[in-house]
């Protein structure tokens, strides 16, 4: 197939996945409700309990972090669909379509990425209103971070959800990945808090996970914390994204075609 043909196939798959996104509007409403509950209940209440010398404004700190959670949650919607396809053996139909397998995998991951960005946009607007309006350069960084994080999380979700046909195990894998990524991140607590409880290398390592890097960039862009090396964070996030996309594509391809 020509490159044009491959691109057209990818575009068709992405279009299909995006249009199916709205089919799950109740699921979306549920996800938005969960993320809003994090901001409007958890962060608002916790703001009254947190040591202000460590975190001056926990509400703003957490609101910017939630954008990273939002990318994860929404990108996982594609994983949920892939999981259903695997369970119901709908994948045989997908493999029978006149698309190359590379196009299929790329289309699914890109579709998941765009879903992530669309879903995140409402939380980005919320953060701009509650925390601060980014500069034009800040907006570019927000866009890049959202695309990179959503792409890597979409790939990860697809790889995980296609690894088992068991509905309960899919949900468990999903939740375990969620917990590992977000507890080992600075979404809920800054590095100085981690340094108070854990050895310095652990606190340092947590700061370089993809979700932490993304949260740092968002906090920089929304003007909450400008004391980070944002260029370094952008490079590291790009590296993470490349590696995760490659691994996810290979795992999904293998899961699609194994007997």
């Amino acid at each position: 197939m020509s490159i044009y043909g491959e691109l057209r196939s990818v575009a068709l798959i992405v279009y299909r996945d995006l249009s199916r996104f709205w089919k799950y509007r109740f699921w979306l409403a549920g996800q938005i409700g969960m993320n809003l509950a994090d901001i409007l209940i958890y962060a608002l209440v916790f703001n009254n309990m947190v040591n202000t010398q460590l975190i001056p404004d926990y509400f703003k700190f957490f609101t910017t972090g939630v954008i990273a959670i939002a990318a994860f949650a929404s990108a996982f919607s594609i994983g949920r669909e892939v999981g259903i396809e695997i369970r119901r053996e709908y994948t045989h139909y997908l493999l029978g379509l006149p698309f190359s397998r590379t196009s299929l995998v790329a289309g699914r991951i890109l579709g998941g990425m765009l879903r992530g960005v669309v879903y995140q946009s409402s939380f980005i607007v919320l953060a701009a209103l509650l925390v601060g309006m980014p500069s034009p350069y800040g907006w570019l960084l927000v866009l890049f971070t959202s695309l990179a994080l959503s792409a890597s999380m979409s790939g990860l979700a697809i790889a995980i959800s296609s690894s088992t046909k068991d509905f309960n195990l899919q949900a468990t894998f999903r939740a375990l990945t969620y917990y590992v990524f977000f507890f080992f991140s600075n979404v809920f607590y800054p590095k100085q808090v981690l340094e108070m409880r854990f050895p310095k290398p652990v606190a340092e390592a947590v700061g370089y996970t993809p979700v932490s890097l993304a949260a740092d960039i968002y906090r920089w862009a929304f003007g909450y914390n400008t004391a980070v090396d944002v260029a370094q964070r952008v490079w590291l996030l790009s590296l993470w994204t490349g590696a995760m996309l490659l691994a996810a594509a290979l795992i999904y391809l293998w899961n699609l075609t194994r007997k």
């Binding site: 549920g30 994090d38 209440v45 309990m49 309960n168 195990l169 894998f173 590992v180 108070m196």
Partner: protein
């Protein structure tokens, strides 16, 4: 059908749920793993940044507070996750098999609520043991009381789950509704913060006061550390114990009523 046959049916259904849980060893290991991560990373980090005295007016160990809260949230989430099993059983037609057995609808509902509750309770026992180890409190009376409360609480939650799953009749909708319910109910409870902190926002405060999760978490706290937590509990220990018992009995009864009315007709197809 005689009482003896009803009880035998009930017993078989409890065994059914326990057997299903037994086959999920990997599931248990993963849940315990993320529980350990939550307690050792999230809990320790949260307790490092909380200034409890300034808000609660008393000197509390937030890590103690958090451990009981996180156990409660885990027991609640695992009891709720029975919804996915039940939804899947209905989708796969297992319910037709169960309905064809010589077991009354009442015993079917009660058996699933008791079996599911017991399975969820047993599932969280390693986490409970881990919490007791971290707390370093081995008071046998407190352990026995808290375990009995945990079992009653999980039976009540599974009874509720059974009623809702039967009303929704869709595994996808079940996934969404329980994900949202889990998130909102946990946050509008005293799992992470005491009711006194919530009192600054009236709707949150009153939601926490009626929330069964708050009553169970605060009951555990006062059973183990009465002096430390009595001032911030949502109610007196007797009242919280009565609430948990009423919750279990009330929601199991609701499950019976719903099963008797909603389970027939193959609405899942």
């Amino acid at each position: 059908m005689s009482l003896r046959e009803d009880l035998r049916g009930l017993w078989l259904l409890v065994l059914w749920d326990l057997n299903r849980m037994q086959r999920r060893t990997l599931f248990v290991v993963m849940r315990v793993t993320w529980f350990a991560i939550q307690v050792s990373i999230f809990g320790l980090a949260l307790s490092a940044m909380v200034r409890f005295r300034a808000v609660a007016g008393v000197n509390l160990d937030y890590y103690h507070f958090y451990l009981f809260g996180v156990y409660t949230s885990m027991l609640f989430s695992i009891s709720v996750s029975r919804a996915y099993d039940i939804a899947e059983e209905f989708e796969e037609g297992t319910i037709e098999y169960l309905l064809s057995l010589p077991i009354t609808r009442r015993a079917l509902a009660l058996g699933r609520a008791l079996g599911g509750g017991l399975a969820a309770f047993l599932f969280t026992l390693p986490m409970y043991a881990f919490i007791i180890y971290l707390l370093g409190d081995y008071d046998p009376a407190a352990i026995a009381t808290s375990l009995a409360a945990a079992l009653a609480f999980s039976v009540g939650v599974v009874g509720f789950v059974l009623s809702v799953v039967l009303s929704l009749k869709s595994s996808d909708t079940t996934d969404i509704v329980f994900g949202l319910l889990d998130a909102v109910l946990i946050r509008l409870s005293t799992v992470f913060y005491p009711a006194v902190v919530l009192s600054k926002i009236a709707p949150y405060y009153y939601s926490a006061l009626v929330n069964p999760i708050s009553h169970f978490a605060d009951f555990l706290r006062t059973v183990f550390f009465f002096e430390e937590f009595k001032a911030i509990a949502v109610a007196s220990p007797d009242l919280m114990a009565s609430y948990i018992l009423g919750f279990a009995v009330g929601l199991s009864t609701l499950a019976i009523l719903v099963v008797e009315k909603a389970v027939e007709g193959g609405g899942w197809k």
